[in-house]
């Protein structure tokens, strides 16, 4: 198992303080000044591994911490607690220069290709920058050769590379940002909702491109999305997140055939399907609690029909049953 492991995320916590400055923190309580520390708990104890060559999809609703997880793994933000290991080397506490070789191996594709490309740089400049930065010894001709190669591989005509991003459509822009990620020959790609901003017919094109790249370059993906249909198609394993914790982690087929965690069940039942006019989805009671004051015990207990006293007190651990991992007392006690 360990030899096959590319990324290990261990017991990751990330909190974002709401009140940053000292004066911000002061509140008057019963006539006295009190300092108050409040924070958004974006990740609370996430443990997972990404195996070489797999496409691990992370799904969940907005605010569940999936993008924070992606950014912590990429080293764009530092975790409050916990470790991120890349091939058994801890990377979350490294300095800028130490991290450089890892940055070359890990690349990220962002959601909105309108915002993630610099409007003042031509496609060529956008693609040249990472290549020459990470390979300072390459000559101009060699850099150019790589730019042409990577532009062609994503299906953009290299003759257009002197154009600016605004001259391209959304789908083409996303191809360019994929090209930028592929330009430095990474091993591992974190894609944060790479197709959510695109139209259906373009989504299919970009998804096919990502699958082609996976085959040709033996890439490993951490794929963040909220679109479960895409997950079913693209992912080899799926991690379901809720309110900063991992509820369930399972091979895609098994997760869609037999979801174990009550939240996963509700989530899957809510996808609108073709040819199904009835609305027989599992209704969750209440709303997602605020990540500022997390509920005690299982974060899902307030909305769960299977919740009992234990769920309100004790935080469930992610337990592995064969190849499925579920964090739920009810599953553990075989109540569901």
């Amino acid at each position: 198992m360990a030899g096959n492991r590319l990324i290990k995320v261990d017991n990751l916590y990330k909190e974002f303080p709401i009140h940053k400055g000292f004066l911000d923190q002061l509140v008057i309580e019963k006539g006295r000044f009190v300092r108050k520390h409040e924070s958004v708990k974006a990740l609370s104890g996430v443990k997972l591994e990404v195996l070489k060559g797999e496409s691990l999809c992370v799904v969940g609703e907005s605010g569940c911490g999936k993008s924070t997880l992606a950014r912590v793994v990429m080293g764009l933000i530092r975790p409050t607690q916990g470790e991120v290991l890349y091939q058994d080397q801890r990377i979350d506490n490294m300095g800028f220069n130490e991290l450089l070789p890892y940055r070359k191996k890990m690349q990220m594709i962002f959601q909105n290709p309108y915002a993630s490309l610099n409007p003042r740089m031509t496609v060529r400049q956008t693609l040249e920058e990472p290549i020459s930065f990470h390979n300072p010894r390459l000559s101009e001709a060699e850099v150019n050769e790589r730019v042409v190669g990577v532009t062609e591989s994503v299906g953009v005509d290299p003759a257009w590379s002197d154009r600016y991003p605004h001259e391209f459509s959304g789908g083409q822009r996303q191809r360019i940002s994929i090209a930028r990620a592929l330009a430095v020959d990474p091993e591992f790609i974190v894609a944060d909702e790479p197709i959510s901003a695109l139209d259906v017919s373009i989504q299919a094109q970009v998804l096919n491109l990502l699958m082609n790249a996976r085959e040709q370059r033996a890439l490993t993906y951490l794929f963040i999305t909220h679109d479960l249909a895409v997950v079913e198609h693209f992912g080899s394993r799926v991690a379901v997140m809720y309110l900063g914790t991992l509820c369930e982690l399972a091979p895609t087929k098994k997760l869609f055939a037999t979801p174990r965690h009550p939240y996963t069940q509700a989530l899957l039942s809510a996808i609108p399907k073709l040819n199904q006019s009835s609305s027989d989805y599992i209704k969750l009671k209440g709303e997602v609690p605020t990540p500022v004051n997390l509920p005690s015990g299982c974060v899902f207990h307030g909305r769960c029909v299977h919740a009992n006293e234990r769920c309100k007190q004790e935080i469930p651990e992610l337990k592995t049953y064969n190849d499925i991992s579920v964090a739920c007392h009810a599953v553990e006690e075989k109540r569901i």
Partner: protein, 322 residues
């Protein structure tokens, strides 16, 4: 008489150098209590179609031809004053993002009663009563307390419920919803879809639902329109559009869904992109991307032909597999 009948609507945008035709020859009907879906990719003209019904097209856009008959009167001929008596009163609109449509500095109550006071002679107390009733109707718990709260105090799903409540408060016979669930999470989306279905059934409200999500169309609507580059390419009963479509573009849209392919296989993509309004090709606008393209498609814009309940604009219209 239909509740709404749009006849040969054409919308143009007068740009500096040229006139762009955003909608051409768009005709459709909505019956009382009927739920109609409009699907298409961005730029297909689905929002322009909806906005033009309410005369919300702003300059440089204008309605250049056609009629919009609502409850017997042609909306394109009304004065701005007459139109504002229809808008928000007889036809309401629900927009995509509830965070953008609600005013952050006004309470929910103020925003709800505003619509009532604008259109009806109603006392403050009665308006408040109506607002609270409507909030309860969209299943907002403790409606009376919500009345005095501000939008930021509510979650995304609750906000969209408030937007729907505002649309409903004047009891309009027609609601136009432009991507009402796109900004919401799937579990919330399911709740909002459920709610809108229930309201349409119980109060016989007609609904025009604009979305790019074929799953949503399939679950919520009775009839559906597929738009491409400003034109209706296919219209029919939703189940026919989903299962037995005739237009190659509709086929392409359906096939591109990940559900339609074995996991791990390449998706069936439609090659190319939708043309910009300024460069719509001659003949059928879909011809450069169409797998069935023939010579006639490059020269002649296809007329509509009726096949069963379906109306389709394609020279090569054929059921799948033939």
């Amino acid at each position: 008489m239909s509740l709404l009948e749009v006849k040969n609507l054409e919308v143009r945008f007068a740009m500096r150098k040229e006139e762009l035709v955003a909608l051409r020859d768009v005709s459709f009907k909505v019956e009382k209590g009927e739920r109609l879906g409009i699907v298409g990719e961005s730029g297909a003209g689905k929002s322009v179609a909806a906005f033009s019904i309410l005369n919300l097209i702003s300059k440089p856009g204008y309605i250049s031809a056609g009629e919009i008959i609502f409850e017997g009167q042609d909306l394109t001929k009304l004065s701005p004053q007459q139109m504002s008596q229809i808008r928000g009163n007889r036809i309401s609109m629900v927009f995509q993002d509830p965070m953008m449509t609600l005013n952050p500095v006004l309470t929910i109550g103020t925003q709800m009663t505003e619509a009532l006071h604008a259109h009806q002679d109603i006392s403050k107390e009665d308006a408040k009563q109506r607002a609270i009733e409507t909030l309860a109707q969209v299943h907002i718990p403790s409606a009376a307390t919500r009345f005095d709260q501000y939008p930021h105090e509510l979650s995304g799903g609750m906000r969209q419920r408030v937007v729907i409540a505002i649309a409903l408060i004047t009891k309009p016979p027609l609601i136009i919803a432009d991507e009402p669930t796109t900004a919401l999470d799937v579990t919330i989306q399911a709740e909002i879809m459920d709610l809108m279905m229930e309201l349409c059934r119980t109060s016989e409200v007609g609904l025009i639902l604009i979305t790019h999500d074929l799953g949503v169309i399939s679950q919520m609507t009775q009839r559906a329109i597929v738009m491409y580059a400003g034109r209706i390419v296919e219209e029919g009963d939703t189940k026919d559009i989903i299962n037995d479509a005739y237009h190659p573009y509709t086929h392409g849209l359906m096939d591109a869904l990940p559900q339609k392919t074995t996991p791990g296989q390449r998706l069936n993509q439609i090659k190319g992109v939708m043309p910009a309004l300024s460069s719509i090709p001659d003949g059928c606008a879909f011809n450069p991307r169409c797998p069935l393209v023939a010579d006639i498609c490059r020269t002649t814009i296809p007329d509509y032909s009726n096949i069963g309940s379906t109306r389709v604009a394609c020279h090569k219209a054929a059921p799948r597999g033939s």
